[in-house]
Symmetry: C2
Subunit: 154 residues, 2 copies
DNA sequence: CTTGAAAAGAGCGGCCA
DNA sequence: TGGCCGCTCTTTTCAAG
């Protein structure tokens, strides 16, 4: 992982449609070694996948909700069952176990309030929860999958 | 936007390396009409971009933080300046204006606590804030960019 | 790492139903 | 619309410097 690799990753995490020739040119290499680097970065797991990002509005998915959950119970059985069920819900785009007062944080994308109510009932039916707080997004000011690749190691 | 278009979008939002031939086969079309549909979906803005997703751990980005912000001031000038500065920070992957008690929610990806402290100081220097609460992620149970495409319209 | 090149495959477009 | 058939460009692999 040198600077060139980081540059390649940064290019591809912003636009994966770039041809190898273009990437090679921008990092100052010829195609063959550039292609080999990309292969290596994929094999080593730096690149996990290449995906198409969709416009939620266009699909009628106008409501993003952040759900804070306090669990109450903390047994391994409970946690495993809860994690499996929630992760399987397609409306949940992000599911994080947290430190501090909130045990879990969910990012949920649905059509509208009515749709969220449907999801909410499904969620509380999945496992007993001590406390659930929903916070609703008004405006998405920034959303990116691109990471700030640090210069040091990696 | 019929069922076939939705199926195409769903395939590509999970794996954008699929060739047109493969997508075509899976949705039960031949290449040409499938290719035309994908072109149309891109032109109409259903597909916003194709990106490579990177592994944050591999890059030494081990800490994800959700930052809740209470603004205090709400003038247009303040908001515009604040929004522009925060959106420009590469550590911020998501920046949302919220309804309710929290005014803004940030998703921040950094190396570690030390690195977060550096970011935090940068953040509070960007604009006067009434209240800032940081919640730290312990474990990423699920993370996907794939949306639950609804059947109706879109 | 570079150049050069060749085989395989994918994207792209025209034309017909 | 969808399907068939080419033309081009890219990806992928190889040899040699």
């Amino acid at each position: 992982m040198d600077g060139i690799d980081r540059k390649i990753l940064d290019l591809l995490q912003h636009d994966a449609t770039l041809s190898i020739a273009e990437v090679a040119q921008r990092v100052g290499l010829s195609q063959t070694p550039c292609w080999k680097r990309i292969q290596r970065l994929e094999t080593l797991g730096y690149i996990t996948s290449r995906v198409a990002l969709l416009n939620p509005e266009k699909l009628g998915l106008g409501l993003t909700v952040f759900v804070s959950i306090e669990a109450g119970e903390h047994s391994k059985e409970w946690l495993d069952a809860f994690a499996a069920r929630v992760a399987a819900m397609p409306e949940v785009t992000e599911f994080t176990r947290m430190a501090g007062d909130v045990d879990y944080l969910l990012r949920v994308v649905v059509r509208d309030m009515r749709d969220y109510d449907r999801f909410y009932k499904k969620l509380i039916a999945a496992a007993p929860l001590k406390n659930v707080t929903s916070r609703f997004a008004m405006e998405q000011i920034k959303f990116t999958t691109a990471l700030a690749i640090p210069p040091g190691d990696g």
